[in-house]
Point group: C2
Chain length 229, copies 2
């Protein structure tokens, strides 16, 4: 119980809650343990509320009938997901699956709304999380509609550098297989592009750590969407 | 003044506010008049808050350096936009431009948050608007990554039918030129696909009204992403 309460404090906006407030929040959540590969919700399933990862990692993705995937978000401890169907009359527009053994909290929509009147700073944290998701999806739409794969990768690196407040190097929060899916490409194409960017002295890659050697050029590549003429 | 106050009630969640509450809300907004083609914010501009359309129509879009556009949202009276940079330390991730003479209200982020503690049902309306945007962007990412253009169009028709609560026919809230941009295609390709769907007796098109003759097949096309083998 104590453990569950302290886990809640990993969620943005909940750190400021005192013991009593956490107790109230804990009273509304439904906690679930998932093993790797477990589905947390299905595309089209009726909304019950939103979720937050307490431990582990969850991917949110769309799938074509042939099984081709595009990953929308990879969520780690403290990240929220499923807000697109927070309220009962909506349906989750994507799949959510545990990438490893994970502990996940469901915040039932109606109970959560009652809390917001009392704790407006929870709403603030929620708005910030939603704003960040809008920015990320906006960038993903832009990439898919307007950019070639090197431009999409550059945009994603710039995005991660900003999120991680680390302009010189970033740590991928996903596997390269998942990164390919986020960028709407294949792992083979992504590998080829990473090698090519390394040869161009733009980056170095060490497992999941990518050092941005030429930050300005990467920003330009992200903006242009492709290598210049 | 009276006029401005009553305009505010077009915004989802604000209808329930009484005269006094509207007065408080009116005190924080910054109202702007824009003519067709005016920019309301630029991609990369620092966030000042979010906006709502009171009168007219606003498009939110991304643009490639060559000027190719992809429209993310077309917003009419009552619709909110710019929430991706509600708070001062964020930047708008897209362009917003008036499509015709429009009246737009800016809700400065900080002032708005103060109001939410007093009026939690405004937060609810805001969450619903954000949830809807997440669903729409999710569908757009899915379409661009996994579907051919007929499948994207079918998804958009199903989305509009649900939003308009009208399964048999929908009214496009955009021009066909804008619709092509939302679907990541050209107006010529879109025209060809609309003609083709008409020949297949799936739809009829009368200016901006599209009648869905075979709703089940259109849903299947939306799910499959392409015409079946």
């Amino acid at each position: 119980m104590e453990d569950r309460k302290s886990l809640l404090t990993v969620i943005a906006g909940f750190q400021g809650l005192d013991r009593e407030d956490l107790e109230k929040l804990r009273a509304i959540i439904v906690q679930g343990e998932h093993k790797k590969g477990d589905l947390i919700f299905s595309d089209g399933q009726e909304g019950r509320g939103f979720f937050a990862v307490l431990r582990g990692q969850v991917k949110v993705y769309k799938m074509s009938p042939e099984g081709k995937e595009v990953i929308l978000h990879v969520c780690g401890p403290g990240d929220q997901f499923g807000q697109a169907a927070m309220f009962g009359n909506q349906r989750y527009p994507a799949w959510a699956e545990a990438l490893c053994a994970s502990t996940v909290a469901l915040f039932p929509g109606e109970s959560f709304l009652e809390l917001i009147g009392r704790y407006p700073h929870i709403a603030l944290a929620m708005f910030q999380d939603l704003s960040s998701k809008l920015r990320q999806l906006t960038s993903q739409v832009e990439g898919l509609a307007l950019k070639e794969v090197p431009g999409r990768l550059a945009s994603y690196l710039v995005y991660l550098a900003e999120e991680q407040k680390s302009p010189g190097s970033i740590v991928l929060d996903t596997s390269k297989y998942q990164l390919a899916s986020i960028l709407g490409t294949t792992p083979e194409t992504l590998s080829r592009i990473l090698s090519d960017m390394t040869e161009r002295n733009l980056i170095t890659v060490d497992r999941r750590e990518i050092t941005l050697l030429d930050h300005d050029y990467i920003i330009q590549l992200a903006k242009q969407g492709r290598y210049g003429a």
